[in-house]
Point group: C2
Chain length 120, copies 2
DNA sequence: CACTTGACTTGGAGTTACCCCAACCTGCTA
DNA sequence: TAGCAGGTTGGGGTAACTCCAAGTCAAGTG
C-alpha cells in the first residue's frame, strides 16, 4: 500500500513516516517506478508498533535501537524483548504519574469548589 | 526561597522555571537587591501544579491560559476549575493509551517468547 | 585585603520530534 | 490534452526545553 494508507493504518502521519525513514529507522521500503513508497504488511506492522511506542513516550533514539535490531533480524529477539519489557515498566511509571496528578487535580478542584459560589 | 530550592520543591528544573517566567506565565517574582529571584510559598505551589500539568502533557499554551487566570485572580475560579476538570479527562484518555499500548507490548513479547530459545 | 567559590544573572545557540509548504513529477480520467 | 489526485524532495518553522558563556555578587579563607 502507499504512504497515505500506511499512515491511516499505523496511526502515524504521512510526514512522520517520511521523517522516520529519513532518519534511518525503517527497513528499506520498496519504491514503485513512479518513485512512490510501497509498504508491505510487515512494514505497516512495524509502523504501528512504532506509533504506540512513540505515543507512550519512547524517545526516537531508543526506537532507533529497536528498529536497528529488527533490521539485523534473527538473533536479536532477546534484546528486542528486553527493550519492550523495559518500556512496559516505563508505562507503569507513567500511569503512576497520571494517577498522582489526578489526585492533585482532585484536591485543587475541591478547593475551588468552596470558592466558586460563596466567596465575595 | 531561591530558584534552586524552588526547583527541587516543585519538580521543575531551574532552566524551566526561568523559561516559564520569560514566557510570561508566572506572576511577578520578587527580586532581591542582588537581582536573584525569591519565590514565596504560593509561587512554589503554582510551580508545583505547573510541573504536574506539564508532566502529564498539558501544552504550554493552555498552561498560559491557566496562569493568566491565576494572575487575574478572584472571579476566574470557575474557569480555572473548568480547565483542571478538562485536563483530568485528558488524563483518563492518556491512561487508556498506556493500557492499550501495554496490551500490544504483551502480545508482541509473548510472540517473541516462542522464538527466543527454540528457533534456529 | 585579595582571592576563590558557589549560586545566581542574562542572552543566545542547540536539540528533539515533528509539521507545513513550495515546486515538481506521475498516472488516470474526461 | 488538460486537469486532478496523490505522490516526491528540500527546507523552513515550531514547541518546549536544555546547555553554555560571560558576567555579578556574597560569603568564606589565608
Amino acid at each position: 500500500m502507499k504512504i497515505s494508507k500506511a499512515a491511516i493504518e499505523s496511526g502515524l502521519t504521512v510526514d512522520t513516516i517520511r521523517y522516520y525513514e529519513k532518519s534511518g529507522m525503517l527497513p528499506d521500503i520498496k519504491r514503485g517506478s513512479d518513485g512512490h513508497r510501497y509498504f508491505s504488511q510487515k512494514d505497516v506492522e512495524l509502523l504501528t508498533l512504532l506509533y504506540w511506542l512513540r505515543e507512550t513516550g519512547m524517545p526516537i533514539k531508543q526506537m532507533k535501537r529497536f528498529t536497528a535490531l529488527v533490521k539485523t533480524g534473527g538473533k536479536t529477539i532477546a534484546e528486542r524483548r528486553e527493550i519492550l519489557l523495559t518500556h512496559s515498566k516505563e508505562l507503569k511509571r507513567r500511569r503512576d504519574v497520571l494517577d498522582r496528578c489526578d489526585e492533585i487535580l482532585a484536591i485543587k478542584i475541591a478547593g475551588y469548589e468552596n470558592l466558586t459560589e460563596n466567596k465575595p
